[in-house]
């Protein structure tokens, strides 16, 4: 279709004057955020000044490494999964497009807690069975080393720690896919046309032109989902892995100090998510400052 000749409209007469009243700025200040930080500081002080709390803290803090490592690893895998699923969602290839959509809709239709049980106790065993069968096939084809490795792969060899990471990654991959898809679709189609008209392939255009812009646009959303994942990582405690939630439950069960255990646990999550949110806000602000459009 023909483009309508676009005439840059300049209707300065109807532009709304900027309202800059000092009260307005005061209202915009994130007081709630200051409140959150104060609560975190007060709670930390509380924990360190009481013997019982200090004991609970020292017991529970051991789990923080697991929580951080699990969240980070799962997030990196989820980003890769999400990027490819997001690209699949906008692919014009019917098979790829439908597979990506199936994955995303399937994951989004199941509660995360149920998904974690399912992936850990059903998904992983099925995958191991499948790999065993591939191993047998490879052995019959004469690829002995890989074949042997795959046939000998045992369900129990995959630790709950690893299953927790797989479960979180597969779940969040579907969420991140929608973020990537939205980011890519936010880039005007002229960018793809300009790239293709210069002789770039679809892949090159994505890699050098579309994705750098798209990812920049969705960076805040990606950061927010990382914060969300740190919180949701508490769900993997149902797999009896030693993340801070599970360790806090253990402490509570052993010492019967439920209050100390769960106050400490709550504060630890709050501190982690607050620190991460501040980081995301900082990055967002810097991006906005460098905006070049």
């Amino acid at each position: 279709m023909d483009d309508q000749p676009s005439i840059p409209l300049k209707d300065e007469s109807i532009s709304i004057p900027e309202i800059t009243i000092s009260e307005n700025k005061l209202g915009e200040f994130p007081w709630w955020f200051v409140g959150l930080i104060l609560i975190a500081i007060w709670a930390s002080f509380f924990i360190f000044s009481k013997e019982n709390y200090r004991e609970a803290f020292l017991f529970i803090i051991v789990g923080i490494k697991f929580t951080i490592v699990t969240s980070l690893t799962a997030y990196v895998i989820a980003t890769i999964l999400g990027l490819f699923a997001g690209l699949g969602r906008i692919s014009r290839n019917v098979v790829i497009n439908n597979l990506a959509t199936l994955y995303i809709e399937l994951i989004r239709g199941i509660p995360m807690l149920v998904l974690i049980f399912f992936i850990a106790f059903v998904g992983v065993p099925i995958a191991v069975d499948f790999l065993n069968k591939i191993g047998v096939l490879l052995l019959s084809l004469g690829l002995t080393s890989t074949g042997k490795f795959l046939t000998n792969l045992h369900n129990q060899a995959i630790a709950m720690n690893v299953r927790a990471i797989i479960a979180l990654a597969v779940t969040y991959g579907a969420f991140l896919a929608e973020i990537f898809r939205a980011g890519i679709q936010s880039i005007g189609k002229g960018q793809m046309e300009a790239s293709r008209s210069l002789g770039m392939s679809y892949k090159q255009a994505m890699q050098f032109v579309i994705l750098p812009q798209a990812i920049r646009n969705v960076l805040p959303a990606l950061g927010n989902d990382f914060v969300a994942m740190v919180k949701d990582s508490s769900l993997v405690s149902v797999l009896a892995v030693r993340d801070i939630t599970q360790v806090a439950r253990l402490y509570a069960g052993r010492s019967f100090r439920f209050r100390e255990a769960y106050v400490t646990l709550t504060v630890l999550y709050l501190i982690m998510t607050l620190a991460l949110s501040m980081l995301v806000r900082y990055i967002e602000k810097r991006l906005r400052k460098n905006e070049r459009t």
Binding site: D2, P5, E193, A194, R292, T293
Partner: protein, 248 residues
Amino acid sequence: MNAPDNIIEIKNLHKHFGHVKALNGVNINIQRGKVVVIIGPSGSGKSTLLRCINYLEIPTKGEIWIDGELLTNDQKHLNEIRAEIGMVFQLFNLFPHLTALENITLAQKVVRRRSSEEAKEIALKQLRRVGIPEKADVYPGQLSGGQQQRVAIARALAMNPKIMLFDEPTSALDPEMIKEVLDVMLDLAREGMTMVCVSHEMGFARSAADEIIFIDEGLIVEQTTPAELFTNPKEERTKLFLSQILHH
């Protein structure tokens, strides 16, 4: 079958968008080194025609031959041919995350496989040609419309295309910036570049075009020299269109 001097041959080109028939059997031959300006009312199919030449729109029916090669859906072949056809868009379509220089070097590096130094050298040469070498390290967002369009032209030229397509290159510009872009296009025409332009700039058409094609309702109504078209249009529709755009 293909005469050697025809760099573009369009045969019985049809393009339908659902029920809308944008092109209804267009035949055009364009000789190497000629400047062809396509004019026509809004919605006449002129942009669609231009976009079919490098397969940004895939024709519903018909054939496009570029320098003796038939365009097909074979993506690899298509990428090779597109590298030989520069295109300039109405809305510039510069890459906003790259500087002017990087805009010009990117495709040289990934498509033409030139080294960074070579690509940079060529980019600077093209920026000098379009008159803004001092803007090399500036991002598109900080350039005026006219400057952006000149970077876009430099970006296309850096690929050493055989053909340049212009899709209403001045329609989105403020009036005072139109001349700087047209000057670059005029220079290019004088240097013997094969150019196909969809444009409303009748002054440019008059002084640079070897041929003017008037399109309406997806068909070529008249194809002649600018002198002939402006002074002695044959078709009623051409007369009507010219009277609308020339005497307002």
